[in-house]
């Protein structure tokens, strides 16, 4: 911050005006008063306003053909973002009044045909203490694990009108309290992987946050233009993860290999009815496609009603912002390429035979997983990647930005956030997500997976050809204050100039 704002002084035009400004400043300074005091707390009932939403808030949904078992599909869904590893004392329990669902539409009619539903329960072994654990925890049955969570998993077959439980007391992998409390967390993780029969595997518990991005990219939405991206802003955090592996033949309908997927969360209201409070299929839809005023509506809506959001896809906001800030022309509307990517699937890739446009993550289960996945997925030639399903390693931010900016319609670009991969490597077997960070390890400052790059070049991962643009100044308040002083001093100094038109002698400056 400049020590004396505004003292280097450009002269003002109206010198007399400057003098008057002095008077005005005196006035204003004298009359500037402190803000009025606060309202007294009241005698009327004041109830809390902000409810804890993270437990019901989907952050990511993945669906991919299992690389080590290509006849099965793996689903991964995360909740509760930005969990600090040292998150005591209650850590991050699953909500017990919620339904966590993975919905599958296998006939393209925008309605869920199969639903896998997790509901959680928890208890304290020792009712006299609220400690998470009372000693070293070596197994999920260890009596030292005081706070125990379990889940019931059921599958609902809407077509047949069937529902049956797959497990009623599935073990939940606990929050990784610390190395002393849980010296062998891998063992705990392994115990939480459940085979429920029929080739179906289930997992619920804490994991390292599999998403990787520079959150500053979203500053675009506020008109900030970014000259620097490249820090994985969610590095070092954990999430709560649900994972499911199902044989493909249990999912697909007939000979259509394409399935649509989305996760949702529902809560019970006071009358006992279940209300959907969160929904997530394709990543970033709620952040980037749906505007702020409709986010709640989207979260409460179902795919079959997605025609109401069509305009946000055919006429998206992000390319217009990029055009406004960087001057790169937005691709011509209507954006049918985005309709395919988000609402119907791309023909020949992951479009169901008969499709009602709706926002879902669509996976073509017949495309085999590749041994060398590319982070840019389909636009880099890797057909097993996003937007054909979503793998843990797919760089969805870069892909989404590049597609939004017209990669598929003849405007190739290198937009990206400069973060190309996760800070931690993923596993090679179910549930594939990495172990959570330990509560005793200090959280690192966040890995960056590439050199600092600009938004325009971050998708390339190397020094881009386009020059970085300087970021807009943030020093508005200082500038304003400086301007005020400028006006005064500048006016005074300017007045010292010898006036041109006079001929009289008085001892002016």
């Amino acid at each position: 911050m400049s020590l004396i704002p505004g003292l280097p002084s450009p002269a003002t035009r109206n010198r007399a005006g400057a003098a008057l400004a002095v008077g005005a400043l005196l006035t204003a300074a004298g009359l500037a008063s402190l803000a009025p005091g606060g309202a007294a707390a009241s005698s009327h009932r004041e109830a809390p306003r902000i409810s804890g939403l993270p437990q019901y808030d989907n952050t990511d949904t993945y669906a991919f053909v299992s690389p080590d078992k290509p006849d099965s599909v793996t689903f991964v869904a995360n909740w509760i973002p930005l969990e600090e590893p040292a998150g005591g004392p209650t850590f991050y329990p699953w909500a017990t009044d919620a339904r966590y669902d993975i919905n599958i539409d296998n006939d393209g009619d925008a309605k869920a045909d199969i639903v896998y539903r997790w509901t959680f329960d928890n208890s304290y072994r020792n009712r006299n203490t609220f400690l998470y654990n009372t000693g070293k925890v070596t197994s999920l049955d260890d009596p030292d694990l005081n706070f125990r969570e379990t889940y019931k998993l059921e599958v609902i077959d809407r077509d047949k009108g069937d529902r049956y439980p797959l497990t009623s007391r599935g073990p939940v992998a606990p929050s990784f309290v610390g190395n002393a409390s849980m010296p062998n967390y891998q063992a705990l993780r392994d115990q939480a992987v459940l085979s429920v029969g029929g080739g179906v595997k289930s997992f619920a518990g804490q994991a390292e946050d599999s998403f990787f991005l520079d959150l500053r990219v979203f500053d675009l939405l506020y008109g900030g233009d970014l000259s620097e991206v490249g820090n994985d802003t969610v590095a070092g955090y954990n999430v709560n993860t649900i994972a499911l592996q199902v044989p493909t033949n249990k999912l697909t309908d007939g000979d259509d290999p394409v399935i649509g997927v989305w996760s949702s969360t529902s809560k019970q209201n006071s009358s006992g009815e279940w209300v959907q409070v969160s929904r997530l299929g394709m990543p970033l839809v709620n952040e980037v496609v749906i505007p702020v005023k409709d986010k709640d509506r989207f979260n409460a809506s179902r795919p079959k009603d997605d025609a109401q959001f069509l305009k946000y896809v055919t006429s998206p906001e992000v390319p217009k912002l990029i055009q406004a800030i960087y001057g790169i022309p937005a691709p011509a509307e209507p954006r049918n390429d985005l309709v395919q990517a988000f609402l119907t699937g791309v023909p020949g890739l992951n479009r169901p035979k008969n499709v009602t446009p709706s926002e879902q993550l669509r996976l073509n289960t017949s495309i085999k997983p590749t041994a060398n996945p590319k982070r840019l997925g389909v636009i880099d030639g890797d057909l097993a990647g996003f937007p054909n399903g979503r793998r843990l390693t797919d760089d969805t931010i870069d892909i989404t930005l590049q597609v939004a900016e017209g990669e598929l319609v003849g405007s190739p670009n290198d937009l990206g956030d400069g973060v190309d991969k996760n800070d931690v490597a993923f596993g090679t077997r179910f549930p594939y997500v990495a172990l959570p960070f330990s509560g005793s390890a200090p959280r690192g400052s966040g890995g960056s997976s590439s050199n600092a790059a600009s938004l325009l070049t971050g998708g390339k991962g190397q020094d881009g050809a386009r020059p970085a643009l300087s970021s807009s100044g943030m020093a508005m308040p200082i500038g304003v204050a400086g301007l005020g002083l400028l006006t005064v001093v500048g006016g005074a100094v300017a007045l010292r100039r010898r006036p041109e038109t006079t001929t009289d002698a008085p001892s002016a400056a």
């Binding site: 008057l20 400043l25 803000a35 009025p36 707390a41 009932r45 808030d57 304290y124 706070f147 308040p477």
Partner: protein, 426 residues
């Protein structure tokens, strides 16, 4: 002419610049917190929001969230310093482009905190128009409609909020509406359901405290004390629970302990209702000079509130009717009745009319106050005394007995007066 205009513009600009510079946000701080960006839904921690807004001052949504969070902090901690900050944040949010429903809801919450419930409702309606799926807008509307006395509409708004984002905020409001209707069973059940092990301590304290109040309201002082103690276990500095413990100590006859607790309460959060209750306890103990000290502070508190733009007519009416200037009480109650017609304002107006000798009119309002069926001993006591003053002995006996049956020790001063009136009649 042009010069003159220019000359006039310059001082205006200068003044504006100076004022803006002195009350605007400070320079952006270090970037160290930037990576922990948690800009997002309400519930994000205050520090993360502040860090984010230093980097991105144009983020309307985060300003609105911060404003709402500051209002919550003010409510939860009792520290009124947060209200000007909340106002500043909300003003920022509203000044940025876009009609953000969260900012409008936050503005409504602030108006409600200032007791301007009509304005709060207008903000809530605007927020609903901007985002019909906003639960926050509905909670703001609920609160405003309840205080305005429009209970059916309030219930509709609360139900709508509950359909959008069910949770503790909606359960608590539905519980209050049930309590106002006299359905204490539903009220209790809803509160019990609303919290669990993962509830934030301040919210858990809120819930336990109101469970305690419900228990105390029906005379179960032991249970009430346990609930208040649980609230304090969750949040040891939660002053309403301390006041609750003071009330049950008085109700159970341990007046010295009650006085000590009240003293601790008023030294932390000297609200008019706590000061008045403490004063009344002291009065009932014959310590009139000390009681007067508390009453003097009530007047000051109310004056300060008014100076800060908070409408305090209801507090003035309630206090002055019993302990001060009757005429002032009546004026204040009438002024408040013009603004809103809730049961507590009806009760205050009834009592103010009564102490001014206008019992016939007072009865009308006392009946209104009890018309919902709220199980509140004080409402019935007021009505009973008014009926007695009108010579309606049967009605009076019924009202006063009902009051004492509900909550035999609802007030150290007034329960005795109720008993005295009853005693006189038989």
């Amino acid at each position: 002419m042009r010069r003159l205009l220019l000359a006039a513009a310059a001082p205006a600009l200068g003044a504006a610049i100076f004022i803006a510079a002195s009350v605007g946000p400070t320079a952006p701080g270090a970037r160290s917190g930037a990576e922990n960006d948690a800009a997002g839904p309400p519930g994000a921690s205050i520090t993360a929001l502040q860090d984010h807004l230093r980097r991105q001052p144009k983020d309307t949504r985060s300003w609105a969230t911060l404003g709402l969070t500051y209002v919550e902090e003010a409510r939860a901690s009792g520290d009124t310093a947060y209200y000007p900050k909340a106002q500043g944040a909300v003003d920022r949010a509203l000044s940025l482009p876009g009609d953000d429903d969260l900012a409008l809801s936050a503005a409504g919450a602030l108006a409600a905190a200032r007791h301007d419930f009509a304005a709060a409702l207008r903000w809530g309606d605007r927020a609903t128009a901007a985002n019909p799926y906003s639960a926050h807008a509905q909670t703001v509307r609920t609160d405003a409609l309840v205080e305005l006395g429009r209970y059916d509409e309030a219930a509709a708004a609360a139900r709508r909020a509950d359909e959008l984002q069910p949770g503790l905020p909606t359960f608590a409001r539905l519980s209050y509406l049930a309590e106002l209707r006299g359905d204490t069973k539903t009220a209790t059940a809803l509160l019990r359901r609303s919290h669990g092990p993962a509830t934030a301590p301040a919210d858990a304290a809120f819930v336990r405290f109101h469970l305690g109040e419900l228990a105390r309201g029906r005379g179960d002082y032991q249970l009430a004390d346990r609930e208040y103690a649980a609230a304090l276990a969750a949040a040891p500095s939660y002053v309403p629970a301390l006041a609750g413990r003071a009330r049950v100590a008085a109700a159970m006859g341990d007046l010295d302990a009650a006085a000590g607790r009240y003293r601790s309460v008023v030294s932390r959060l000297p609200l008019p209702e706590y000061l008045t209750e403490f004063g009344e306890l002291l009065e009932s103990l014959g310590r009139d000079a000390e009681a007067q000290e508390q009453y003097d502070v009530v007047r000051m508190t109310v004056e300060l509130a008014s100076a800060n733009g908070v409408s305090a007519d209801l507090e003035i009416a309630l206090f002055e009717a019993d302990h001060g200037d009757r005429a002032v009480a009546l004026r204040a109650a009438q002024a408040e009745w013009k603004r809103r017609r809730s049961v507590d304002v009806a009760d205050a107006l009834a009592w103010a009319l009564h102490v001014n000798g206008r019992d016939a009119e007072a009865l009308k309002y006392a009946r209104l106050a009890t018309s919902l069926g709220t199980k509140d001993a004080r409402l019935r006591y007021h009505r009973g005394v008014i009926e007695d003053a009108l010579g309606r002995s049967a009605d009076s006996r019924r009202s006063l007995s009902a009051a004492l049956a509900l909550n035999p020790q609802f007030s150290p001063l007034h329960a005795e007066r109720a008993r005295a009136v009853l005693g006189r009649m038989s």
